[in-house]
Symmetry: C2
Amino acid sequence: MAKEKKFVEEITPMEVDFAKWYTDVVKKAELIEYTGVKGCVALRPYGYAIWENIQKILDEKFKELGHENVCMPMFIPESLLNKEKEHVEGFAPEVAWVTYGGSEKLEERLCVRPTSETLFCEHYKSIVHSYRDLPKLYNQWVSVVRWEKTTRPFLRTREFWWQEGHTIHATEEEARQETLQMLDVYANFCEQQLAMPVIKGVKTEKERFAGAEDTYTVEALMHDGKALQSATSHYFGDGFARAFDIQYTDKNNTLQYPFQTSWGCSTRLVGAIIMAHGDDRGLVLPPAVAPIQVIIVPVAAHKPGVLEAAAAVEARLKPICRVKTDTSDNTPGWKFAQYEMKGVPLRLEIGPRDLAENQCVLVRRDNGEKITVSLDELEAKIPELLETVRQGLYDAAYARRAKMTFSAKNFDELKDIADNKPGFIKAMWCGDRACEEKLKEEAGVTSRCIPFEQEHIGDTCVCCGKPATKMLYWGKAY
Amino acid sequence: MAKEKKFVEEITPMEVDFAKWYTDVVKKAELIEYTGVKGCVALRPYGYAIWENIQKILDEKFKELGHENVCMPMFIPESLLNKEKEHVEGFAPEVAWVTYGGSEKLEERLCVRPTSETLFCEHYKSIVHSYRDLPKLYNQWVSVVRWEKTTRPFLRTREFWWQEGHTIHATEEEARQETLQMLDVYANFCEQQLAMPVIKGVKTEKERFAGAEDTYTVEALMHDGKALQSATSHYFGDGFARAFDIQYTDKNNTLQYPFQTSWGCSTRLVGAIIMAHGDDRGLVLPPAVAPIQVIIVPVAAHKPGVLEAAAAVEARLKPICRVKTDTSDNTPGWKFAQYEMKGVPLRLEIGPRDLAENQCVLVRRDNGEKITVSLDELEAKIPELLETVRQGLYDAAYARRAKMTFSAKNFDELKDIADNKPGFIKAMWCGDRACEEKLKEEAGVTSRCIPFEQEHIGDTCVCCGKPATKMLYWGKAY
């Protein structure tokens, strides 16, 4: 048992240092490895497998809704990036510039895409001519680069992996519908698959995506009370179409500007999973994206029949879940700690005594509950228990968020909460950007979103005291 | 029928101008679109879907053989690229250099990966310490950049999409086995899934990958008689391990250098499919990677029952193949031409007369054969016919290659064939690089590979007349 103990002790407890706990988990669960490229990480097999599972679920959903995958170039010529004024102002300061090809200096600098609106606009300009060409519902799975100063695995790295959907429509109504539909896809994915409750809402003008008319977001609350923007969906109106001169002829043979959207989520979601569900023993994975859903640990593996029984159980479970047996010569205790660190939702222990009773023991990663199950009932019980784990994770995260969500009626109340109670703060706002800036400077919180589900906290702005009609979520954020 | 005719006439016939035919197909089948980034293309939905199908089949096979997906950064610091001498000499002249992050000049230039051996070596150095850590069987699906002067969609673009496998092993034997195993994976995929016969062999020293001890290749023959290197698999020995100082302690606690491999294939395969199977009516897709395997075209769609029957057939076929119905108001003739252009393997025509007879007509894209099938037998007949198309494509490509493969005993014979008969030339070689260079300069052919299946064409080198033991495939290549 010495080994097990040592292993567990190596993680910094959350309460001691949350940031250190986070990087410990990321490293010890073997999700990433640092590289010689500053601010860029390597995704290791276990980390990449989580991302692959996220991709698979979302990609299927996108396609079900009529989207098609494409791939634009990774480079954007400087002149193309410059075409939409707000957009370039938002991104130019943080892009990586390619200036040489081999030993030759390029005539025009190319940036490595920080996002691909400009490339999609150029593409749409060349393929969209008539109302018959609309809508185009495209998506791509790629990595993008933003030259951040401070980086952290999954949460903010110079290169990160994401999907970016880019759609173009004949009417504003259709584009608006698409924007909200995709926000719902993300919200449902977060809540149902990642077991992570989210607040759906719209960003204030200050927090909007560069070039968007409206930016919608899903915001989740992490263990330490900080908010994490988990996905965004943008409505562009016809602003990009006008900047890039994309026009189509409608049914009456009149030239019209089309309407656009974009929407995306990234490997940040892996960071969200870690911080929404993890504990002091490591990662806790929602079953839908866990690379291993059930880990079989043979106990007293040298005793006759144990390994054979484990293999038989694995063979039976293979068609219904992602299952693995650890037959290595490490002790069961070491294995328990190892797969707890890796967040495997269910551990299945099987030893000589279990065999004698025709049963096995299942242990939930989320709350440690042990359930004895007859071997005859395995195929029915495992999916049931995986769903129980999912629901358990969701309920725990939901309860935690409820406990960490506060209301403030005036500046002093808000400042007091911001200083002493980590979490979301619900408060009214007059709509004035100056108040937003003041709250950021003086209370250290930013507006997370104007939630769709409004509540009436009071009649006046939490900051200036003027009449207010909108309730906002405020918080510290990643 | 006017529309149909016009559509077909828009493609340049192969015989008139093969290069023009190729780019016509690529554009008109909507596989790619040119972009404002010189030498870079956008993969459109239909082109990307072919690549997705390729990815899916290969990824499954890789995983079945124990490989895991990872993702390394897209940038390589100059000092890291410089660590292996031959490797840097091979790639440095054609890389894109990032020199600025935002407005700040980088202390060290970063190149956009042209291939990732150096990044994997750095990674292995940090995670491989003991024999227990070996082997690592990694793969990544990414895009890479090589600053080519002349580019062509799929065949040679500055950015292209590929997978690169990188493995590290305790012994030379294991690494050599891996290298050959992966070559077989590619060869089987090309022959069985892409219906494209390939020659398996090893490259000469001159044609070897920069830094490899041995480069294995699968070479396919295109319609115009040019060879296309379809995938490669490299054995590195311990050269990279020594250059990057990767060592592990073996079971006897002694430090050892591990052995490495890498292997890859790319979106070039889409180019290979086009040029191996296409014809003057457009693309011809092997069923395994066709985004649409069966296109249903209702005939006299306004007649009662036709659209309903088409929908019923689609519903029945959905579980067994990728099927789509074109219910647009274009004429059947236009649709026929359209889906021939897109290379859909089977067309299913259904009209009032068919309904009366409880049948439909299936038309093979590869040879135009029409088969009347009872509606009762559809589920059995479609998979059978898709397999027939695959076999038909393979047989046609095989016969074409046989007709276009020649033998030469001396320089004059070889030169005559090279000048007048497009295709492969089998000829003996003494092993001297000077002869290879002379054949390239004076006959315009390069060595494609030393095939595993050797034949005895003669006793002397086709170039210098000295004794020779190896038979090589020579040819013009993409």
